[in-house]
């Protein structure tokens, strides 16, 4: 293999490119990225960047010296527009073509939007800088969507003194992901800080003065942030023959077709640890899957390894750090296994079938959490791990 193309120049794509070099590959690596900036990090966008604590220079994923050492054919500010599997070429927006022997697709996701003009989304550095320009004490911000992204932005805006209203269609924010009790507790933290939270309302449209709800009611705002989830960037793969369905579909090796792999937010792969296909929008997964895809691309047929990680996610809101391990979605039961929800210091365990499938921790020391990560990694049986008599929080 002498030519490898990596499409998407962010956490997953960079990790893949670095891993190729670490594994001793010395052929051409063409790294294609739509954004003009060298690879930068997204999690700080809704935290330190929005709070104006960090400037853009702190976001670079690697120093320019470290990047240069990778000896990349770096194509920034140009998007991939098409893929020809048979002739093995990636077509770029500037009309050029990148021939490859191996391909890694890491094009991530983009925010879902609502009808109407003028709302913010939060995905890129430009998005974050634009929103932060507009946030200040007394400004009225409406956040549509009470997921982790919306919650983080709401927390920063409150700290800056903005009047914040969060609108959420579900009855309890994040209930589908973390369970009702934990979701309620996480929401209460915002209410305690003066966020106006309205659940069970559907926003249909962004208007000139704010947003409109499905019943016709209008809510006024100076700024609107739409944080209602994301869509995988797979349009450029249309007609390529690859299977797309909420992400680029891959097997357990992260392979989508012969010598074509995917990694990061865009990839839907089969995770054998949970015996299910998943697509995960977590920062650590982007790096780990980039590594796995690169290694499997270089690996001989029998040397490839299934990608079977315990997903890990964190979120920072006010002075609260949330950490989650495993695959919480679709769980059958949640139980507080250490600490206390009311104290906001706890570990909640998640049961799926008869095993420990996930854990979510707030304010707990690392050693307390490590045990739970281990239980998930080994597929430990729920009844052998969770002490009997622990009250089930909810289903």
């Amino acid at each position: 293999m002498r030519r490898i193309a990596v499409v998407g120049a962010s956490a997953a794509g960079l990790s893949a490119a670095e891993t190729l070099r670490r594994e001793g590959y010395d052929g051409t690596i063409t790294l294609v990225g739509e954004e003009p900036e060298p690879p930068y990090d997204r999690p700080p966008l809704s935290k330190q960047v929005l709070a104006a604590e960090w400037e853009r220079d702190r976001l670079a994923l690697r120093t320019s010296a470290d990047l240069a050492a990778l000896d990349l054919d770096l194509r920034l500010g140009v998007e991939a527009t098409g893929l020809e599997l048979v002739s093995r070429t990636v077509e770029l927006g500037d009309g050029s073509e990148v021939p490859y022997d191996g391909l890694i697709i890491a094009t991530g996701v983009r925010p879902r939007r609502l009808p109407g003009e003028g709302a913010h989304v939060l995905r890129t550095l430009d998005d974050a800088l634009m929103l932060r320009e507009r946030l200040s004490a007394g400004r009225r911000l409406v956040v549509v969507g009470a997921g982790f992204l919306g919650a983080e932005a709401a927390a920063v805006a409150r700290r800056l003194g903005a009047e914040v209203t969060v609108l959420e269609p579900a009855a309890v924010p994040l209930a589908h992901a973390v369970g009702t009790e934990v979701g309620r507790m996480l929401a209460q933290v915002h209410v305690d800080r003066g966020v106006g939270l309205r659940c069970g309302v559907t926003v249909t449209e962004v208007t000139e003065d704010g947003v409109r709800l499905s019943g016709g009611e209008e809510i006024e705002a100076d700024e609107v942030l739409v944080a209602i989830g994301s869509l995988p960037n797979t349009e450029w793969l249309e007609g390529s023959g690859l299977t797309v369905g909420d992400g680029l579909v891959c097997d357990q090796y992260c392979e989508a077709a012969k010598n074509v792999y995917a990694a990061g937010d865009v990839a839907r792969w089969y995770n054998p640890l949970f015996s299910t296909s998943m697509r995960i929008e977590h920062r650590t997964n982007a790096a780990e899957q980039g590594m796995a895809a690169a290694r499997n691309l270089l690996g001989a047929e029998g040397a490839r390894k299934p990608f079977a990680p315990v997903p890990y996610f964190w979120s920072d809101q006010y002075d609260m750090k949330i950490q989650a391990y495993g695959f919480l979605r679709g769980h059958d039961e949640v139980a507080v296994v250490e600490g206390d929800l009311a104290q906001r210091r706890f570990v909640a365990g998640y049961r799926t079938g008869d095993r420990v499938s996930g854990a979510l921790a707030v304010g707990m020391p690392p050693k307390a959490i490590r045990r739970w990560r281990q239980a998930i990694a080994t597929g430990a049986a729920w009844h052998a791990t969770v002490p009997t008599g622990v009250p089930a929080a909810d289903v």
């Binding site: 956490a11 990790s15 670095e18 891993t19 670490r22 990090d41 999690p43 702190r58 670079a60 994923l61 690697r62 120093t63 470290d66 920062r283 650590t284 790096a287 780990e288 590594m291 890990y312 964190w314 920072d316 750090k321 950490q323 020391p365 690392p366 959490i369 490590r370």
Partner: protein, 64 residues
């Protein structure tokens, strides 16, 4: 080689400890601590792994 840690970037994920237990630990808040700055030849691969998986790009390996 020398390992550098920008502790104020650290997000307390603990990935570095999983990758290189002899080099990294975490304090009570989860923030990474260096157990050693000088990395021996036998540890370099593990530390490179830590650099690669750290979600905050807080770790660097420098020097010849």
């Amino acid at each position: 080689m020398k390992v550098e840690l920008e502790a104020d970037k650290c997000v307390a994920s603990g990935q570095c400890v999983v990758a290189a237990m002899d080099v990294f630990d975490q304090d009570d808040d989860g923030i990474a601590i260096l157990l050693t700055e000088q990395v021996g030849d036998d540890q370099i691969d593990d530390v490179k792994e830590a650099v690669a998986v750290c979600p905050a790009a807080a770790i660097r390996l420098v020097g010849a």
